[in-house]
Symmetry: C2
Amino acid sequence: MASAIMERMKAEQEAQERLGHLQGFAYPSSSRTFKSSPDESFRVPCRTVNLSNGEHLDLYDTSGIYGDPAAEIDVKKGIPLLRESWLQARSDIEIIKPASDTAGLSSPKVTRKGRAGSNITQFALARAGVITPEMRYAALRENIGDPHNTVTPEMVREEIASGRAIIPANINHPEAEPMIIGSRFRVKINSNIGNSSVSSSVAEEVEKMVFSAIYGADTVMDLSTGSRIHETREWILRNSPVPIGTVPLYQALEKVKGVAEDLSFDVFRDTLIEQAEQGVDYFTIHAGLLRRFIPAAAKRLTGIVSRGGSIMARWCIAHHQENFLYANFDEICDICASYDVAISLGDGLRPGSQHDANDEAQFGELKILGELAERAWQKGVQVIIEGPGHVPMHLIKENMDLQKDYCHNAPFYTLGPLVTDIAPGYDHFTSGIGAAMIGWLGTAMLCYVTPKEHLGLPRRDDVREGLMAYRIAAHAADLARGHPAAMAWDNAMSKARFEFRWEDQFALSINPERARKFHDEDLPEECHKNSHYCSMCGPKFCSARLSREIKNLSQEEIDKCLTAE
Amino acid sequence: MASAIMERMKAEQEAQERLGHLQGFAYPSSSRTFKSSPDESFRVPCRTVNLSNGEHLDLYDTSGIYGDPAAEIDVKKGIPLLRESWLQARSDIEIIKPASDTAGLSSPKVTRKGRAGSNITQFALARAGVITPEMRYAALRENIGDPHNTVTPEMVREEIASGRAIIPANINHPEAEPMIIGSRFRVKINSNIGNSSVSSSVAEEVEKMVFSAIYGADTVMDLSTGSRIHETREWILRNSPVPIGTVPLYQALEKVKGVAEDLSFDVFRDTLIEQAEQGVDYFTIHAGLLRRFIPAAAKRLTGIVSRGGSIMARWCIAHHQENFLYANFDEICDICASYDVAISLGDGLRPGSQHDANDEAQFGELKILGELAERAWQKGVQVIIEGPGHVPMHLIKENMDLQKDYCHNAPFYTLGPLVTDIAPGYDHFTSGIGAAMIGWLGTAMLCYVTPKEHLGLPRRDDVREGLMAYRIAAHAADLARGHPAAMAWDNAMSKARFEFRWEDQFALSINPERARKFHDEDLPEECHKNSHYCSMCGPKFCSARLSREIKNLSQEEIDKCLTAE
């Protein structure tokens, strides 16, 4: 026990040291570049891979300042306030004194709120016909790598106005680079971080957020349930270039010392305001778990696997009352609307096993989420819908079809789904299969799963492995949906492979370090990087080598081959 | 360079040492058990997982003798000749003197061939209405874990007779446990092993085969292209409990010192006979790559990625003649029919990139494979059809549909497919997504891909990781297709998870060692194996714990919750 505590302290110290020397991460053969808006009034950061044949490939980039090798980063001060001038220019929001402290950071970020009577959300503004700076920024990002610049600011506005997309951008998170979540855009991925009472520290969580940004997370959820939840979140927010989501119920439960029965809407309301003032961009709210679904959930093989869902179910049973999140949903919406926090309607009754997939409890809740989405829209609040979970392949399409129907095409945000339960240790993969499929069918964001799922809290390297699996799933979905920039990436890789440009292959892969390491196990020398073979087949059997010789034949030689008897 | 050679020698020595001390592998909480035939005349080995609550789960097992902790294994002598008494009892086959040597082994295996005028294959016998011992054995294996014993020997006979399934069981590979490949049966997986001129040794290859059997490969292909090909294969065959496949063209090329232009059907014929006498159970034959497809392939982004395909294309161009495998296909069939070697019709023109998927060259060859399948059946030869490759998700179904149509429902045997090319280092996963999907659609066998794909020759641990990914894909496909035994496994795992039977969760997982290791990173103590939480959430937030309490409520308590205002 004592050694476990020592280990925890050591891990925290080491993370603190690394954060003290944080430098921008440089992908190989790549540079930080910018794509300018058509009128050149602003620009968005990209990663450009510079290939050895003089060509280049522009890639969408989530790393923010962490992808800039020249950047000076001091996590105590936070990262630059990208949106500050846009926020200052607005007349519908005002600066207020926050309810809570800044947790020891010295960021210049101020706290804001919508003026009484104003509709300040991206959704309300979109409906009013306004194209905001956030919409322009997100639209331009979507066009990285797409020579046709398919996405226009007007298209973004329309998708948001219809409820089919959101830009999660709390007015109190000015550091984040705006991005859009919706089925007509690139499939996005989320990484989950956060401590538990058993594991992790503030420094390690900040590091996981940095890793997440570098390795491709479009948003990050801080799901801390242990100690120092407020402080952890503040350090994350002030240093995060990507939107941050939370489940406020967790901190509310911490405030009542972990006793679910002691929860109340008062405690919850205070928590919402505290987190909204800090700058959380979206809240998971388990308002769809009505008490009448509890018997059906009790019959299941694996009951309720959602933390928030099991907490609310317990509360309902203890108080003999309807779920207080449902009962007070209007007020929740009013609070969210004041800061433009999006609501992620939680799937407290998602299935936790193949056995329970697509059951009465799950779809009963989904219908309620559809009703709640409409109520949230009436209040001007942006909405996404959370989804499963554990679903065998043949039942995945039904999930997408019913969600579109019940929830009026609001963006779907699934956790996988896992397509089998037999492989703990590999659940980033079992769920990546389902995620790729449901992304192809129209799911807007995929919440990752790491190799530690069902076994323990993910560490920094688990976060990276989960992200690798989910970048693959999201990209495969983009490719299957015909996204213009997706095929360009695959083609660049295939061309590099066929032409034996090994350094380019490594630079173009989602994990260049690993690709190089695997190649170098057998062929580590510098000269091997020009070899027209690898250790799989050797020179005589390399099909790419043989194939290139065929490609270089003249038409005459080919004709001779075809016509001779 | 010298150090690379030293490393290779060291790796070989260490593998030799390990093989010298080979003992049966014991999965945790498991025992080697047997399922008896209804008339109790024979039995097939299973692995039974003994759970801590007194229940058990029977699992299909590919490990053969390597899964028997009590077995004495001497790789120099080979493993027991399981089918020897069945072969001795047959009057349609005779013992002959083999053309080649036994490579230093002292196995009692003799060499056999079909008597002139006899039709000895499983296919011919099935058509004649005969249910062979191999069919009974394979049928019984399919029923492991299925209380309904859905598969009957007659069903197996009919599937083979119709060409929809095969039992690859060369009369010269008496060591192998018969198994069936077909869309009505469990989805099977294959691992690829074999040296190259750059890497590996006989001992390391034998070890990869043993690893393959232990970790779930239903068949293994020895794709050696380096040195000592005959010897490597002999050691593998005499020690393999699973069917072995090869691409005879590789050894034929080795015989002409790697010069494709020097190949001839004479060299190829000799190679076929040599390998058939050794006991290879199925040959990949690239007879569908007709010269008229070469221009279309030359236009591609990644040309021809099949080794055999690129070799044959080169030969056609050099000789201005039709592919000699196609030209001599009848004789190839006659040879295969004499030993009951199945033919795996090679997809020499499979796409090697997303860009090239489903193109004219690929489907042109597929049509020819359908014609060749019919010709093979006329000669009594068992047939499977090889498939892609690299295919984005939205194009996968077309592959399955066309293959069923062109190839008259012969079993489909795909390599993945990879659903994106951007992730070398993770291609077991990019291809596992496509494999799961195409398995669900009806593909009978999935050829694995390891993390080393596109980068280098897989080593022993890469073999295991490839198998983990493919066991997941195949099982997910079985689950989606409603296989009775598949859901039982998922349910057993989910139940163990919900009841916090941690040791049972580990024992039931496809990689018990890894599951335990991940769990123990944070909670290593013995007492933790009874904890009603893990480090993901800790005790207060564990949804399974909260959920179980809900499950234990009385009906009265639930009613009170629902009815109170």
